[in-house]
């Protein structure tokens, strides 16, 4: 059966059962569960250290009202990072390469930050639509521009993650196909292409971690404005 470049992004279905649910649940099995011991093992200590440092860094600019979001930010960061990294393995499906998944994460969380701002401090939330010190003739234009930028935020959040992962996977697929095809014809070029593939894979590992961090960081910035 001839396959196209985009077959890797089709949501897998086995005997009519969508496997995307398994793809969402399985990463959690890889994380060590907290044990009932005073001193834990190395993996758990590393995990706790990473989560604590990351959460402390993320919550520094937020006031105490925003600290309620510590759990959801830490969980979201681990979830996205594990989904992105597992998708780099061969023949695996990356749920975060689907726009529906990323918009499903971005829109409710962004909307929650906006509604929290409108409920707790409506004057300050509305005042955010007009930058301080704007000259009078520019006031209506800037208000419209800031309103549009507010509504574009969840779309940008979702599309950023989708586009980065999709582009990376496509590039890896193309270069690996080229390396495989050239192996018999031009072995030297195939070796060079394989070196490029290795470097691209390292880049994609970095992109997977960075994009998960950027998603959560931007959400924390939107929360910072509203809490």
């Amino acid at each position: 059966m001839a396959t196209s470049l985009f077959d890797q992004f089709i949501s897998p279905v086995l005997l009519g059962i969508p496997l995307i649910a398994l793809a969402f649940v399985l990463p959690w099995l890889l994380f060590p569960a907290p044990a009932n011991r005073w001193i834990t093992n190395r993996m758990l200590t590393l995990q706790n250290s990473f989560i604590s440092n990351f959460t402390a860094q993320l919550l520094k600019p937020l006031n105490t009202g925003g600290h309620k979001w510590a759990l959801i930010f830490a969980a979201l960061m681990l979830f996205l990072m594990s989904l992105n990294m597992l998708g780099l393995l061969p023949y695996t499906f990356t749920p975060t390469a689907q726009l529906s998944v990323n918009l499903g994460l971005a829109v409710p969380l962004w909307l929650a930050t906006v509604l929290i701002g409108m409920r707790n401090q409506p004057t300050k939330s509305l005042a955010h639509f007009l930058p301080e010190g704007t000259p009078i003739p520019l006031i209506p234009v800037l208000i419209i521009i800031e309103t549009i930028s507010l509504f574009i935020r969840p779309v940008a959040l979702g599309v950023r993650l989708t586009a980065n992962l999709t582009a990376g996977h496509l590039l890896m697929h193309l270069i690996s196909t080229a390396a495989y095809s050239l192996l018999c014809i031009m072995p030297t070029v195939a070796i060079l292409t394989s070196i490029v593939l290795v470097m691209l894979t390292v880049l994609e590992i970095a992109v997977a971690m960075i994009q998960a961090y950027v998603f959560v960081l931007l959400l924390s910035l939107y929360l910072q404005e509203n809490v």
Binding site: A127, H128, F129, L130, E132, G133, I143, E225
Partner: protein, 86 residues
């Protein structure tokens, strides 16, 4: 390595704060205090939170009013076209 002359920590999602801080620290331009704003400028300005809120609400109100007038006018014109000429 030269460091930035702007010393305050500025939120990345607010250009208003950036503009105000840059004007204050680089050029020494201070925004007017609330006492200097009199008349309608007291309620509609781009310096105080209340003034900015009122400007935003006024802009939205004007947009909604314009859209409502346009829709009503269009509906009336369509009704006049469908009615037979007397």
């Amino acid at each position: 390595m030269p460091t930035s002359p702007v010393k305050t920590r500025i939120p990345l999602t607010s250009f208003g704060h950036l503009v105000t801080e840059v004007k204050r620290q680089l050029f020494g331009i201070e925004p007017p205090t609330s006492l200097e704003l009199t008349g309608w400028r007291k309620y509609f300005n781009s310096y105080t939170a209340l003034g900015r809120r009122n400007c935003v609400l006024a802009t939205y109100g004007i947009l909604v009013a314009t859209a409502t007038v346009y829709v009503m006018h269009r509906r009336n014109s369509q009704e006049k076209k469908t009615q037979p000429a007397v």
